[in-house]
Symmetry: C2
Subunit: 181 residues, 2 copies
Amino acid sequence: MPPARRSRTASPSPASGQTDLPALHLTRFLPYRLSVLANTVSHTLAKLYEKRFGITIPEWRIIAVLGGGETMSAGEIAQRTAMDKVQVSRAISRMLDSALILRESGDTDRRKALLTLTPKALAIYAEIVPMALTYEEEVTDALSIDERAQLDTLLSKLQARADQLAARPAPVSAQAEQAGG
Amino acid sequence: MPPARRSRTASPSPASGQTDLPALHLTRFLPYRLSVLANTVSHTLAKLYEKRFGITIPEWRIIAVLGGGETMSAGEIAQRTAMDKVQVSRAISRMLDSALILRESGDTDRRKALLTLTPKALAIYAEIVPMALTYEEEVTDALSIDERAQLDTLLSKLQARADQLAARPAPVSAQAEQAGG
DNA sequence: CCATTTTAGTTTCGTTTGAAACTGTTGCAA
DNA sequence: TTGCAACAGTTTCAAACGAAACTAAAATGG
């Protein structure tokens, strides 16, 4: 039997008499750390947006991509915001109710609705963008200039890899893995 | 009027005749990037856990912290997993149903329930930890050794700062900010 | 052309979530 | 003691979510 791969934190075998497994400390586990950090950040921002403008994160994202005054379809918004079409559809419906968005049916293709921000939403955009950037700067103030560049690189590489792995169809079972070498 | 702070991507003023605002490109906005990355990773893992063991991420986290065979209260689990007590309570209730956890009322303090994994859950732990670590390695394989160390540092610093900012009580209004300088 | 498939977006249904209210228990203080 | 605040955990309720089914319009192709 090949020696078990033993990633970091070689904690001695636990109190109970189990075989020694590779230990997993949640606080050092990348998916956990990413999740907690992203949650902390998103939650803080969400409260800010909600308190000041009464909008949610999905709504903010839509405002962000339409903020230049551009017009686009729901599908295009979904792509640009990395939200799925259901989420976008619902956010748009809320925004129609609160008069943040204008929808007109496309002329050439009547399936696609052309979406534009109303002046009210553009006003929110003008106010929210500095707020968002300020928050971002406050967070990244924890880093040196070099570190910010590193962060950019790392996030890009990780996202690319994560996308790759997510696209992988059958997440090879442990058995198959073992058998296959 | 003082020159507007112009963070990166000096996109020329938009087609419409608006005053030039600092532009915000979602794909370069840290909170957005973190959120998308964490989602991609979590979602991939969640599918893995669900498919193979029928457990959710909250359940996995509880298994992770109790996996050494330790016993602790729900509150302690909440702290260690960064979940709130409601989430923990619900996960535990599911795990009781599926016989993954054992609950006995504390002797000295009958409010605190002592929670321990059942052998069934320990078996899952033994199988899931290598899977989780493998996935983590597959993701971090996108990085050099140096970069992995950087990532560790960056995540720690960002989390610390994000926690600080989240704790800040009144998120200074734009007006106040402006007035104050 | 008409029938079929694909695309855009919405709706539905069951589940999950988060905040706040609630239950039961302990600690503290008059 | 008893009365009250703090604590541990659960429940409730309304909003949010994801997957799958659905509607409508456009593209395909016999």
